[in-house]
Structures are given as structure tokens and as C-alpha cells.
């Protein structure tokens, strides 16, 4: 089984988000970038499937050279090889196009990624890739098993879940509780250095959206404290002042 796992490079979850004074750019200075947390579920599940059933796991990142430390981290966790498509990922369609191209060329059986990136929160790339390839997309998937050429997935829906059986190839986007993400061990880190990382040029840069400006939400006006002894007062305030009850 050939598995392609797409990872994106995002600011560490604890990053305080700030922008340039004109609001045009996200300030990356001093920010630590990590593998998108949702993508770690996809990566770990891919490695588990490979360990149990054989095959290969290729990680793919659409991004410029500064993402390579996180690509190496994915290799250290257990992927076999990596591809980086050398373009700044400014738009979901642009990224989906690159992924679909690599997926088609490599004839992958499974294309896995996280449900959304925690920076742009698009929740769109997986569906676009599936559509570009003309294969099913299951998103968001909370369980994934493969038996021969059939995959069984659980898909989260509003108010429950569905069990879906579908033939490979397919695209799935992962979220908790698909598996427990792994951290690299020493041996993984050592071997990651020698694993192949191929750099490809983009197949097109056809974006359909363009960010004009970023803005922070207005600061909260401050918290109103209520004495624990009179906790019931809170309910009255929620009804009469905040008008939410």
C-alpha cells in the first residue's frame, strides 16, 4: 500500500498571533513552527498501517525551504521518504492542485491529511484533492482501517458518526481520536537525516482567493467577578444583563 501524508507547517499552538502594522502580514519572528496537530493523526495512522500491512509512507509538504525541519521530523516519526513542492501555500486551491498532481503521478492508494490547518482553518484542501482526482473524500475521519483494497472509516457528522466502506484509492482527513500521535525517538532522528527528500517545482499557481488584511478581535472589556457565596446571582446576570438565558 502506498500512502501519501500531507503535512502543513503551522505556528506552534501556543503562539501569540500578531500582524504587521498595516495588517498585511503575519509576524513570523520568534515563532516556532510545528507539524499541524491534525496532520500528526494522519501521519501516525499511516505509519501504523504500514507497520501492520507493509507498504510505504511518503510525506508531502507544499511550502518553501523553511518547512524542512518539520518534514525531517515526519521522517523521524517513521515516514519513508518526503516530497516538498516549492511554493508558498497562499490559497487552498493552489495547495490542493499540487497535492493532486503528486498523488496522481505517484499512484498512491491512500491520501491522508488533517481535517484543517490551525492557521488558515480552511477545512477545504481534502475535498478539493478528492474532486481533482475524482475519488471519494471522507472528512473528518475519526477511524480508519484498511483490509486489502477496501477501507473502513468512521466519519464524524453533526450529532453522531457514520460507518463508511469504500474502495481505495481515497482521500481522508484525520482528527481525534483516530490514534495517539507519536513523537520521534533517537533512532528515528538519526535515520531521518539519510531519508530522501525530493524538491519539486509547482505545477501551476492558480489561486482563487487573496488575503487583503488580518485583524485581531477587539479585546474583552474585562471580567465581572461574582462572589462564590452568591453564585446564584450569576444566573440572574446572564438573564437580565447578558441576555443569554
Amino acid at each position: 500500500m502506498k500512502i501519501l501524508v500531507c503535512i502543513s507547517n503551522v505556528p506552534d499552538t501556543t503562539t501569540k498571533i500578531t500582524f504587521s502594522p498595516d495588517g498585511k502580514a503575519f509576524n513570523t519572528g520568534g515563532v516556532q513552527f510545528v507539524i499541524n496537530p491534525y496532520d500528526e493523526y494522519a501521519l501516525t495512522r499511516a505509519i501504523e498501517l504500514k507497520e501492520a500491512q507493509g507498504g510505504t509512507v511518503t510525506v508531502l509538504n507544499v511550502g518553501e525551504a523553511d518547512t524542512e525541519p518539520n518534514i525531517r521530523k515526519a521522517l523521524a516519526i517513521g515516514a519513508d521518504d518526503a516530497i516538498r513542492v516549492n511554493v508558498k501555500p497562499t490559497d487552498a486551491f493552489l495547495v490542493a492542485q499540487q497535492i493532486a498532481h503528486v498523488a496522481k503521478e505517484g499512484a498512491y492508494d491512500l491520501i491522508l491529511m488533517g481535517r484543517e490547518s490551525i492557521d488558515y482553518n480552511g477545512f477545504q484542501v481534502h475535498g478539493m484533492v478528492g474532486e481533482l482526482l475524482g475519488i471519494p473524500t471522507i472528512a473528518p475521519a475519526i477511524k480508519l482501517d484498511v483490509n486489502g483494497s477496501t477501507a473502513t472509516l468512521e466519519r464524524e457528522i453533526e450529532g453522531g458518526k457514520e460507518i463508511i466502506e469504500v474502495s481505495l484509492p481515497l482521500v481522508a482527513s484525520a482528527q481525534q481520536p483516530m490514534t495517539e500521535p507519536r513523537i520521534p525517538n533517537m533512532r528515528g532522528i538519526m535515520t531521518a537525516r539519510t531519508k530522501p527528500l525530493q524538491v519539486l517545482e509547482p505545477v501551476g499557481q492558480d489561486a482563487k482567493t487573496s488575503v487583503q488584511k488580518y485583524e485581531l478581535p477587539p479585546a474583552k472589556s474585562g471580567v465581572k467577578m461574582i462572589d462564590a457565596e452568591n453564585a446564584g446571582e450569576l444566573i440572574k446576570l446572564l438573564r437580565n444583563e447578558a441576555k443569554v438565558l
Partner: protein
């Protein structure tokens, strides 16, 4: 040119998030000088659709093919693409739900359209520039995004727009068929497991959430009783789901569910940035924590410093007295 709104239904009713999408869509239609049509799929009462007139919808196309009673992305997309073609729609409005996202991304490729998800405000339209505001960085910021393709697809975040209610206005309902083939149903669910009984977290206007400060599952009856009294859904922090005190589908935050209810009551939750990421667009946040330095107080509108096991029973009592 027209605006097409995709309506999601459950148990014969239009979902609240779709009433918001309909209100949004008809406002966009007004600013473009056109009308808003809706497309509804599956099992829904005709009167529920007629009353979409109150949200400004003039006409509803209903495809009630019984094979569509479960969500099958490819089939749904085919119905909507056909409706968009027959209505000559240049703007398509969806809910920012799991269904909306699955439809929007496929449709965007088929129609060569621009797609914006997680949209929180009406578009700014000036000349040919069409810009929407969306939530980014897990709710920590907004970005204004220009949709540069001729066709535009917008997925509206829950609770971000008011529902219009022009009393008495009605929409006409027309039957619609996309002549679906069996092949369109690849990936249809084999089985659907509905979460039982209670109010759905993703649909809830009020949420009561518990963290590790609750000490153990044996105290969860407090969270449940407060929620039940208020008519709220229950939620929890990640460690609580990880230890198995609560099911994973209740975990909110960066790696769990994102919610934006009118009221979020956080009990015994520290307010780590990853938790805030999933709840910080709630309209009103209440924090109950025994540690006055808990970071959650900075994000709160109302706070009580105290032991959850003592404070929550008082809240239940006061809520019952309402």
C-alpha cells in the same frame, strides 16, 4: 446571476445554521440586486421549507430522492451544481458544518469557484471586488479575503449572523431532480450512529463544559444537571476526554470541536490557549475556577473564584428558580 443557499435538514426540520445561511444569502442577494433561491436535499417537511420566506428566500428547490436521506458528498454536490446551473447562481452560501465543508470544497473545483469557509460577516462588495471576513488562527484573528473567481462559495460560521424573520413571508417549493445514477452514491454510509438524546454540542446555543477541576467522572452529574436545567449541551477539555471521563466527541478546543455558542460556561478548566482556540468566539464566557490566577479569567465575561463542587449546585438551584 442569483444567490443559491444550501439548506441542511435534520428530522424533517431545517437546521438553525441553515436559517442563518438563508438570512446571509438573501442579504447578499439584496446587495447584488437579485433574489435568493434555496436548494434542500432529503427528508424535510414542505412547510419547513415554505417558511424560509421569512429568511428572505423566494423559491426552494427540493430534491427528495430517498437515496439522499444520508449525506453522500458526490451526490449532494451533483444536485447543488445542477441547481446552481439552472438558477445561474454566481454566489452559493452554505453552513460551515462538516457537510457544508465537504460540499463547498468539491463544488469549488467543479465550478472553478473561489471558496471561503468559516465566514463571520457579510461581504464587502465594491466594483468587482468581493471580500469576506473569516476566522483564522483558531479563532485568534480574522482575515479579509478577496474571492477572485467569478463564482463564489461562502460557508457561514454558526452564530455569526442574525436570523431574519420577516413574519408571514413564504417561499414557493418546487420539486427538483438531478437524475442521479447509482455511481453517484459511492461512499454512501453503511451505517449511521446517532448520538443519543441530549442537545447536540455542534448545534447548541448554550454549552456547559467541565475540565480536570471536576476531579473525576463521578462529579459529572453536576455539569449534566446544570446543562439540563439551562437547556444546554455538555462539553469537556481534552485531558478529560483523553482519560476517558467523557466521550471524545465532547472535547472542544484546537484539536477537538470548535463551538461558538451564545453562552459557554467553563467549570474547572484552566483556559490553556489550545482550549480557548475552540471556544473563544462564544458570545458570553463564564469561568468557574478555584484558582484566581487561572488564565481563563482573562477571556471571560463573568467569573467566580470557587470550588466547582460547591458553586455548581448553587447555580443549579438558581437556574431551577428562573
Amino acid at each position: 446571476m442569483s444567490v443559491l443557499v444550501v439548506i441542511e435538514c435534520a428530522n424533517g426540520e431545517v437546521k438553525k445554521s441553515s436559517l442563518e445561511a438563508a438570512s446571509y444569502g438573501s442579504k447578499v442577494a439584496t446587495s447584488l440586486g437579485t433574489s435568493a433561491t434555496a436548494v434542500a436535499i432529503g427528508d424535510v417537511q414542505a412547510d419547513a421549507l415554505t417558511s424560509l420566506g421569512e429568511q428572505g428566500i423566494t423559491k426552494v428547490l427540493l430534491d427528495n430522492d430517498s437515496r439522499l436521506h444520508n449525506f453522500v458528498p458526490a451526490a449532494y454536490v451533483k444536485v447543488i451544481a445542477k441547481a446552481a446551473a439552472s438558477e445561474n447562481s454566481s454566489v452559493i452560501v452554505l453552513s460551515n458544518s462538516n457537510i457544508g465543508a465537504a460540499i463547498g470544497s468539491r463544488l469549488a473545483v467543479q465550478l472553478s469557484a473561489s471558496l471561503a469557509t468559516n465566514v463571520v460577516a457579510l461581504p464587502e462588495i465594491s466594483g468587482s471586488a468581493f471580500t469576506v471576513r473569516r476566522g483564522v488562527f483558531s479563532g485568534k484573528a480574522f482575515s479579509d479575503v478577496e474571492l477572485t473567481a467569478d463564482k463564489k462559495i461562502i460557508a457561514v460560521k454558526k452564530n455569526a449572523v442574525e436570523i431574519e424573520t420577516a413574519a408571514g413571508a413564504t417561499a414557493t417549493v418546487e420539486n427538483f431532480s438531478a437524475d442521479l445514477a447509482d455511481a453517484d452514491f459511492t461512499g454512501a454510509p453503511k451505517e449511521t450512529i446517532k448520538q443519543s438524546g441530549d442537545i447536540l454540542l455542534t448545534e447548541a446555543d448554550l454549552v456547559v463544559s467541565g475540565g480536570r477541576g471536576l476531579k473525576g467522572p463521578e462529579n459529572w452529574h453536576l455539569i449534566e444537571e446544570l446543562a439540563k436545567t439551562l437547556g444546554a449541551a455538555t462539553a469537556c477539555s481534552k485531558p478529560v476526554a483523553d482519560i476517558g471521563w467523557r466521550p471524545h466527541h465532547e472535547h472542544v478546543g484546537q484539536t477537538g470541536i470548535t463551538v461558538s455558542p451564545n453562552l459557554y460556561i467553563a467549570v474547572g478548566i484552566s483556559g490553556a490557549i489550545q482550549h480557548l482556540a475552540g471556544v473563544n468566539s462564544s458570545k458570553v464566557i463564564v469561568v468557574i475556577n478555584k484558582d484566581p490566577e487561572a488564565p481563563f479569567f482573562k477571556a471571560a465575561d463573568y467569573g467566580i473564584v470557587g470550588d466547582a463542587l460547591e458553586v455548581v449546585p448553587k447555580l443549579i438551584e438558581a437556574a431551577k428558580a428562573l
